[in-house]
């Protein structure tokens, strides 16, 4: 699988680390209630189809970015407006 890094272009998936559901908050605020923390940690989108997700170009530009990918076809899609 080639992953379109917005900074480096398409690169082999082995250069990346996966970051999961991009709609989860990037960090859980200290004030969050236990229920909010639980939801942020554990209740992630798991769609069969387009998925907004995070990738980290660990062996490249070291940037985290969001991509849309169809989990049924593994095709990367243009970011939805």
């Amino acid at each position: 699988m080639l992953i379109p890094c917005p900074h480096c272009g398409p690169r082999a998936a082995e250069e990346f680390e996966y970051g999961g559901d991009a709609s989860a908050p990037p960090t859980i605020p200290t004030e969050a209630t236990p229920e909010q923390a639980h939801a942020a940690l554990h209740l992630r989108a798991n769609p069969r189809g387009p998925h907004r997700e995070l990738w980290y170009h660990a062996a490249g530009c070291r940037q985290w970015f969001t991509a849309r990918r169809d989990t049924l076809t593994h095709r990367f899609l243009a970011e939805a407006p």
Partner: protein, 947 residues
């Protein structure tokens, strides 16, 4: 062609020529039985030409399951038949044939259940009977290469359709690659006199191929098989190489456009005893005869439902084979049949072969009219079959392509547009050369094609078994799956073709049903009373044909299996007897044993020397991050549990980081080098994880923070000098003041050390006065050597990770991976008081979940054996009485304390101080009473640190 090259098969000597494959040479030498079948151990002969071969699988020395048709003949080749003992000619396993009535599909699900204790015995017998060749015992002497390439257009298959596709795609500046395995069986299945552009088809093809090869942007991969298509247009190809270098090259291609010209597979026909040696696919026989001058026999019956095999009859007749008859279920065939008749070949339309005669080799067959009637005997030593063609769509379906049933050809054809991968030629249903070329070439580029256009094929595959005739009808020769097996599966209620496959093992052989899949599905559909179009075929899985493990691993074998990192001081460690150990991706000195020392003695010496004099350790592997910007303290406040706002320039501080879920992630020191400049160290094994964590927070959560993070682990060599005499050693090296006043505990200094720009941190992981000297990596070894020289008079000795781990345990310092095992919190480690109340940090919210306040959480404690000399059992669990309440995370002998100690995680451990528990290792039969104590065994006040 004269056959002069000597080779052996099952111990007998034969000869072949340089264009032979093992199969063609065996055929030419009249060898009939080349193997034994998978289940019934029936004698079998050469059947196919390439990867579809079910029978001619050989043991070549140490290598099993080598397909004879894919093995070029070389002098001295020593081949053995498989699945037979003592030999393929006489195989004791053939008694399985006698028991055949007891071995229907899935018989093993119905028996061997009682008595239960005998199952292992039965299983052993089943296992020994199954399997093909013998697995290699010796290491593989070969090398395998891997190459990557990107192309605009990839064409798979070098027959007429593939050549045409490549011609159409080729253009200056456009990278086109053509991958071809050389079989080109399409040419072996039609009109032998076909002409393209006025030339014989094969010559036209060769000329076009040469033209393509001469084009600068076209690459031809010969003897190469594309075996998998995956996401983003990736195609994996295995290329077989000759000569002295690598044996195979695996190509990882990424293509903008993928065009499949993979042709079609000839299907067998099914009748009683259709597996006898001498029964062969017609196109294979023709290829052996015309390309290798290897005749399949002297006298052949050809049984076909397709016009192409009439061409084969003509070609074989021309090569010197007598044609007894061509049997064809169709009442009428096309012009090639006419040509055959004209050439004096007896044609029997409307007839079918119902049984092959001869046990150890074909002696003839019985044929009769399709609608029934008297049987006639035809005499022949060879029975060639052609049951129509199945498009090779394995790559197409791998790419997600859908197929639709085509009534005319009785096969599934690609549905155009169902995937981006395109199909041309035979795999797209073309039945003539003209059609195959026209799939790619525009009308103005089409050459003139002269060929016999075939009549529609018969779709009959399974012949009836006339009353009173015996003999198994094999649908899948690879796994000995018969018509009766399929009938049984359907009768027992397996209503889906994938279930039928699993129950009968149909199509699970080494060709993955390439030859049998469609026939089996058609027959099963009939039994179910449903249409084949509706039942469908099983899905072939990657790879299209089997791929050698060595080629998949490429260079990633032996020491290069995974990269191994070393520090700049590695040459010194190697030269000075260090015992190295792999720690994650790093190689690190474990200890430096001296002659006649046991490991424990070496560790004790290294520890005691550090505690009483001075030790030196290579800590270059520690993760290091350079942090710059106004908001570094804010970042540190947010990621560490403790507060960082007031760290002065020139000072170091210890911190602990949590994961988002509240578990301890890592610990280490961060030091302030300048106003807006810090350096952070993290545990060796956690560097990548912490980097991703910090990058994520900085980029996604807090982009407003002015912090720039740069990983500098490999830029700096780091050397720890520890022990009561550490300062003397450092003083001899440093060109600045290292007195306690100038460089107190948890301070840092920057300056020249033996002429090298250095940073010196006064931090300690051993509990001793210690300095960590960081210098640019290229100076690491020089610094180390200078320190060894300067330290000689103070008794300096290197110490490894074992001594380091011992000293940290004596001090009760937790370690990620040991006590911080991903399930422990800060409080579990006894560090709850570190958590700042003035500010929040990552992970704090998640810790408010109720389970983290439970009193029976595992907490870190120290343990002492009641008898100081009594070793802690290794890997021990802790029990009070009853089930485990904890486990030892580090149990070791402390030379400093002259006793065994341990760190442990114990349920409610801090409330158990002073209790006696049991450390138990039932596997080793050890149980040792231990007392729960504070985890800090040595110098709780930290006096040694401060000096």
């Amino acid at each position: 062609m004269i056959r002069r090259i000597p080779f052996r098969f099952d111990g007998r000597e034969y000869r072949g020529h340089e264009r032979d494959t093992l199969s063609s040479a065996l055929l030419a030498n009249g060898v009939r039985i080349v193997g034994r079948s998978f289940k019934y151990h029936r004698p079998r002969g050469i059947f196919g030409y390439g990867a579809d071969e079910p029978n001619a699988l050989f043991q070549l020395g140490d290598e099993p399951n080598c397909r004879g048709g894919l093995t070029p003949l070389t002098a001295g080749l020593d081949a053995r038949g498989q699945n037979a003992w003592p030999s393929v000619g006489f195989d004791l396993g053939a008694v399985a044939g006698l028991a055949a009535p007891l071995l229907p599909a899935g018989f093993y699900y119905k028996t061997f259940m009682a008595p239960r204790r005998l199952w292992p015995l039965y299983e052993g017998l089943i296992r020994r009977a199954a399997g093909l060749g013998r697995a290699p015992r010796a290491p593989d002497p070969h090398r395998y290469d891997t190459r990557h390439a990107h192309v605009e257009v990839l064409v798979v298959g070098g027959g007429p359709a593939g050549i045409a596709a490549a011609m159409a795609a080729a253009a200056p500046g456009r990278r086109v690659m053509l991958v071809d395995d050389g079989a080109r069986l399409g040419l072996m299945a039609g009109d032998p006199d076909a002409r393209i552009g006025g030339q014989p088809a094969a010559d036209w093809l060769a000329a076009r191929e040469a033209e393509l090869a001469a084009m600068p942007d076209v690459t031809l991969l010969r003897r190469a098989t594309a075996y998998a298509v995956s996401d983003s247009g990736r195609v994996d190809v295995i290329q077989h190489l000759d000569g002295g270098g690598a044996r195979q090259c695996r190509w990882v291609l990424h293509a903008g456009r993928i065009i499949l010209a993979t042709g079609a597979q000839e299907r067998p026909l099914v009748f009683a005893d259709n597996d006898r040696p001498g029964v062969m696919l017609a196109s294979a026989a023709r290829a052996y005869a015309t390309r290798h001058a290897a005749l399949p026999g002297r006298r052949a019956v050809i049984f076909t439902g397709d016009d192409g095999a009439y061409g084969t009859a003509l070609a074989l007749q021309a090569a010197g084979v007598e044609i007894e008859a061509v049997v064809d279920p169709r009442p009428h065939a096309g012009p090639l049949a006419e040509a055959a008749r004209t050439a004096g070949i007896r044609c029997l339309p409307g007839q079918v072969v119902v049984k092959a005669l001869g046990a150890r080799g074909v002696k003839g067959c019985l044929a009769r009219p399709i609608e029934g009637g008297a049987m006639r005997r035809l005499n022949a030593d060879t029975l060639l079959v052609s049951g129509g063609f199945t498009p090779n769509l394995q790559l197409f379906t791998q790419a997600g392509g859908r197929t639709g049933f085509d009534e005319g050809s009785g096969a599934f054809l690609p549905v155009a547009g169902s995937t981006a991968v395109e199909c041309v030629g035979g795999c797209a249903g073309a039945v003539s050369l003209a059609e195959a070329l026209a799939h790619s070439l525009p009308p103005d580029a089409m050459p003139a094609v002269e060929e016999a256009i075939p009549a529609p094929p018969s779709t009959l595959s399974v012949m009836p078994k006339p009353r009173g005739l015996r003999g198994k009808r094999f649908i899948d020769l690879h796994n000995d799956v018969t018509v009766e097996d399929l009938n049984l599966a359907v009768r027992e209620g397996f209503g889906h073709i994938e279930q039928v496959k699993r129950y009968t093992t149909l199509g699970m052989g080494t060709d993955q049903g390439r030859t049998s899949g469609l026939i089996g599905a058609g027959h099963a559909a009939g039994q179910m009373g449903r249409a084949l179009a509706d039942v469908g075929v099983t899905r072939p899985r990657p790879p299209v044909s089997p791929v050698t493990f060595g080629a998949l691993a490429g260079g990633h074998v032996g020491p290069n299996m995974a990269p191994s990192r070393v520090t700049p001081i590695q040459p010194w460690h190697d030269a000075n007897g260090a015992r190295m150990a792999q720690v994650g991706s790093w190689r690190r000195p474990q200890l430096y044993p001296r002659a006649h020392e046991t490991d424990q003695q070496a560790i004790d010496r290294e520890v005691l020397n550090t505690r009483t004099a001075v030790g030196i350790v290579d800590v270059s592997t520690l993760g290091k991050f350079d942090l710059r910007g106004r908001d570094v303290p804010e970042l540190l406040n947010r990621v560490y549990v403790n507060a960082w706002s007031n760290l002065p320039v020139g000072r170091c501080r210890y911190g602990v980081m949590l994961r988002e879920d509240g578990m301890v992630l890592d610990d280490g020191t961060t030091s302030r080098l300048g106003e807006n400049h810090y350096v952070m160290t993290v545990t060796t094994g956690n560097a990548e994880r912490v980097q991703a964590h910090l990058d994520r927070l900085l980029q996604l959560a807090w982009p407003e923070l002015d912090v720039r993070l740069t990983p500098v682990t490999e830029q700096w060599a780091a050397i720890g000098i520890a022990g009561p005499r550490a300062r003397e050693v450092l003083a001899a090296l440093a060109e600045f003041d290292v007195s306690d006043a100038a460089l107190p505990y948890m301070a840092l200094a920057q300056g020249q050390v033996v002429g090298i720009p250095a940073r010196v941190f006064r931090i300690s992981f051993s509990g001793e006065r210690a300095y960590e000297v960081n210098v640019p990596a290229q100076h690491g070894q020089a610094l180390w050597e200078a320190a060894m020289a300067a330290g000689a008079q103070h008794g300096i000795m290197p110490y490894g990770t074992e001594a380091m781990l011992t000293m940290r345990a004596e001090k009760g310092f937790f370690m990620p991976g040991f006590e911080a095992d991903g399930r422990t919190t800060l409080d579990d480690l006894g560090l709850g008081r570190m958590m700042s109340r003035k500010k929040g940090c990552v992970g704090q919210a998640a810790l408010r979940r109720p389970a983290f306040a439970a009193p029976d959480r595992k907490q870190m404690v120290g343990l002492l054996t009641l008898d100081a000399a009594q070793p802690m059992p290794r890997g021990a669990q802790i029990v009070a009485d009853g089930p485990s309440i904890g486990h030892i995370t580090a149990g070791l002998y402390s030379a400093t304390l002259e006793r065994w100690i341990a760190l442990a995680l114990v349920e409610g451990g801090r409330a158990r101080m002073g209790e006696t528990l049991t450390a138990t290792a039932p596997m080793a039969g050890q149980s040792v009473p231990v007392r729960v104590v504070d985890p800090v065994f040595l110098d709780p006040e930290g006096e040694r640190l401060r000096g």
